[in-house]
């Protein structure tokens, strides 16, 4: 039975989503429980999968027993397994949080559908990370874009609708260039399976160098549009800023990351390091990511809306991850992959606590949060912990990834990027810390009032994320050791 875990992680959320739509779209409390159970099971299943990968190497599953290149194949290596565990754990926490709060944010009529959409998005994320077939990846990517855009627009207010349209149009541009890239690569190699493409690519490059280069370019454009690297980030702040809390958390923490996982697979497994270092990809990626880091942080300072600010901070953090990839060194890549995890934890925590505070106080403005920390200690402590981790204070997880990124920059002989990281940490401090300080030590302009109760699910979710922030700061060896063999293989150390 254990071999069927791989398809089950995609089938289970899909089946749950359609069961919700079939049986209880009106009774959202059942939908709530069903999705909580489903994500809980997913955490268990992905952990089993990660263990299998650790013991036996990559897990391979052929659908319908058709072996590739004819059939669709799931290949879960260490990077994918790492990402799968992360996705299911974070979405479990977000669902836990949403159970206490969501019915106050979204019309009751669509709540059941909201959970179904969430699970479909989750299925597509898990599918993208595990599939080894390019077209299959493309279909999952499209499912994820459409359901993510729907999760933004679900409230039906003006801003969210506009953001959703913007997101949809731009992500269609991204998927258009991805599909062109897939067409190109199928034309020159004749395969859609990543493993087979990787084998056939050197020969194809000798015959049709222009096509292969165009493919690489189109992949870069498509995936950077979808993951909102700096010049293509314009859709992100609106979409993530105006969505309901749990949607923003998932979009910022997981959805933009999954495209980076695809990017990693393509760059290091298909095109390979040798090929990539011949083309000026490194320069482009580093330039774009440095701009993303600096300008994302600068734009975040200007924001007064707390969720908008967090969204701009995501733009900067995506820059970190792409910088780690662009350095093309072992430590840089390790930093990037660790930052995918650490940023997911931090950003989920920040968005959830900010959403909770907005719901409790009714205010979105940063300046009106003075003195809130004394009235609602738990969400504000979570927010502060997230802020400190974002700045990169040592025992917390944000420090670890920044450490490895800096090591990677030194290894690549580009110390200027260490400076970029330092400056941006300073900028992070500039927009996060005043909120924390004024929330705990500032004087509230309003008379003190009796605090509203915090839903129990929300408290548990925030505490879990707080513990994870500290845990991955202190025991960073666990993910590092897990990822090490895969990265060594890519860099042929």
């Amino acid at each position: 039975m254990s071999e069927h875990v791989a398809p089950l992680i995609v089938v289970l959320p899909l089946a749950t989503a359609y069961s919700i739509l079939l049986f209880c779209p009106k009774y959202w409390r059942y939908a709530q429980r069903a999705s909580l159970i489903c994500t809980g099971l997913l955490v268990v299943l992905t952990c089993i999968l990660a263990m299998q990968v650790n013991v036996r190497g990559s897990v391979i599953y052929h659908f319908g027993n058709w072996s590739p290149p004819w059939g669709i194949e799931f290949l879960i290596d260490r990077i994918s397994a790492f990402f799968l565990v992360m996705v299911s754990a974070i979405s479990f926490v977000v669902i836990l949080f949403a159970n206490g709060l969501l019915y106050k944010e979204i019309k009751e009529r669509v709540l059941g559908q909201y959970y179904a959409l969430f699970l479909i998005l989750l299925a597509s994320l898990l599918g993208i990370a595990s599939s080894n077939d390019l077209f299959n990846v493309f279909v999952f990517l499209e499912i994820s874009s459409v359901s993510a855009a729907a999760l933004v627009a679900v409230n039906g207010n003006k801003l969210a609708l506009e953001a959703s349209v913007k997101y949809l149009v731009l992500s269609t541009l991204g998927s258009g260039s991805l599909l062109l890239a897939i067409a190109n690569i199928y034309m020159v190699t004749g395969y859609l399976n990543l493993t087979f493409i990787a084998e056939a690519l050197p020969q194809a490059y000798a015959l049709y160098p222009l096509n292969v280069l165009a493919t690489l370019g189109l992949f870069v454009v498509g995936l950077t549009v979808k993951s909102a690297l700096y010049p293509m980030h314009i859709w992100l702040p609106d979409a993530h800023g105006s969505a309901p809390t749990s949607s923003s958390a998932v979009l910022s923490a997981l959805v933009v990351k999954v495209y980076i996982i695809v990017f990693l697979k393509l760059i290091f497994r298909v095109f390979t390091l040798e090929f990539v270092s011949q083309v000026p990809l490194q320069f482009v990626l580093l330039l774009m990511s440095a701009l993303a880091i600096l300008l994302g942080s600068l734009l975040a300072i200007r924001q007064t809306d707390i969720k908008k600010m967090l969204a701009y901070s995501t733009v900067a953090q995506i820059g970190y991850i792409f910088m780690g990839v662009g350095l093309l060194t072992y430590n840089g890549l390790l930093g990037a992959v660790l930052h995918i995890l650490n940023h997911a934890i931090m950003k989920a925590m920040l968005f959830l606590s900010a959403g909770l505070l907005i719901k409790l106080t009714g205010k979105r403005d940063i300046r009106s949060l003075a003195g809130v920390g004394r009235i609602y200690p738990l969400p504000m402590i979570a927010f502060s912990l997230g802020s400190l981790a974002m700045v990169g204070i040592p025992p917390l997880n944000g420090f670890i990834s920044k450490w490895y990124l800096s090591l990677g920059a030194l290894e690549a002989g580009l110390p200027i990027y260490v400076l970029v990281i330092l400056v941006s940490s300073f900028l992070n401090g500039l927009y996060y810390l005043p909120i924390v300080i004024s929330a705990f030590f500032g004087q509230s302009t309003e008379p003190t009032y009796k605090p509203l109760p915090i839903p129990i699910g929300a408290s548990i979710a925030l505490i879990c994320l707080c513990i994870a922030t500290i845990f991955f700061g202190l025991f960073s060896g666990i993910p590092t050791q897990y990822l090490d063999p895969a990265l060594e293989n890519w860099f042929q150390l």
Partner: protein, 144 residues
């Protein structure tokens, strides 16, 4: 829109369109076509009906919850057929390897589970198309 010619002709055409759609769905494993194409054809007959006769009152229309049930049931049926492969001891979506009879090539009964899968897709696509159309029409009517 209340044109007599359109109404009479569409009344005459709709059954043929539906039979043709059903043919494309059911023969998806033998000839070009399949669940998506056939489902769209079936849905287009309903759309034609709505266009020709105008929006009907609530009780004369295909109820929304019916299309929703068909849609989700189609998706769940697909998953169920896929899981049959696992239950019979092979992989997800396993077909002949799971012991489904392949039949004589060219007959309707050939192809193992593919027939069931296209049927599920046809169910899902037809009902989705109808839902999409009626939602867009409803939005328009609400504000107009």
């Amino acid at each position: 829109m209340r044109d007599l010619i359109i109404r009479v002709i569409s009344r005459f055409m709709i059954p043929f369109i539906q039979v043709y759609g059903a043919y494309i769905v059911l023969y998806g494993h033998l000839s070009p076509g399949g669940g998506f194409a056939g489902g769209t054809v079936i849905a287009s007959s309903i759309i034609l009906y709505i266009l020709a006769y105008g929006l009907l009152s609530e009780e004369k229309r295909i109820p929304e919850h019916f299309t929703r049930v068909v849609e989700s049931a189609g998706a769940l049926f697909y998953v169920f057929v896929g899981l049959l492969g696992v239950l019979l001891g092979t992989r997800f979506l396993g077909n002949s390897v799971a012991g489904f009879p392949l039949g004589i090539p060219g007959r309707l009964s050939s192809g193992g589970t593919i027939f069931l899968l296209t049927f599920a897709i046809g169910m899902k696509v037809a009902s989705t198309m109808i839902t999409l159309f009626s939602h867009l029409i409803d939005e328009e009517r609400e504000e107009g």
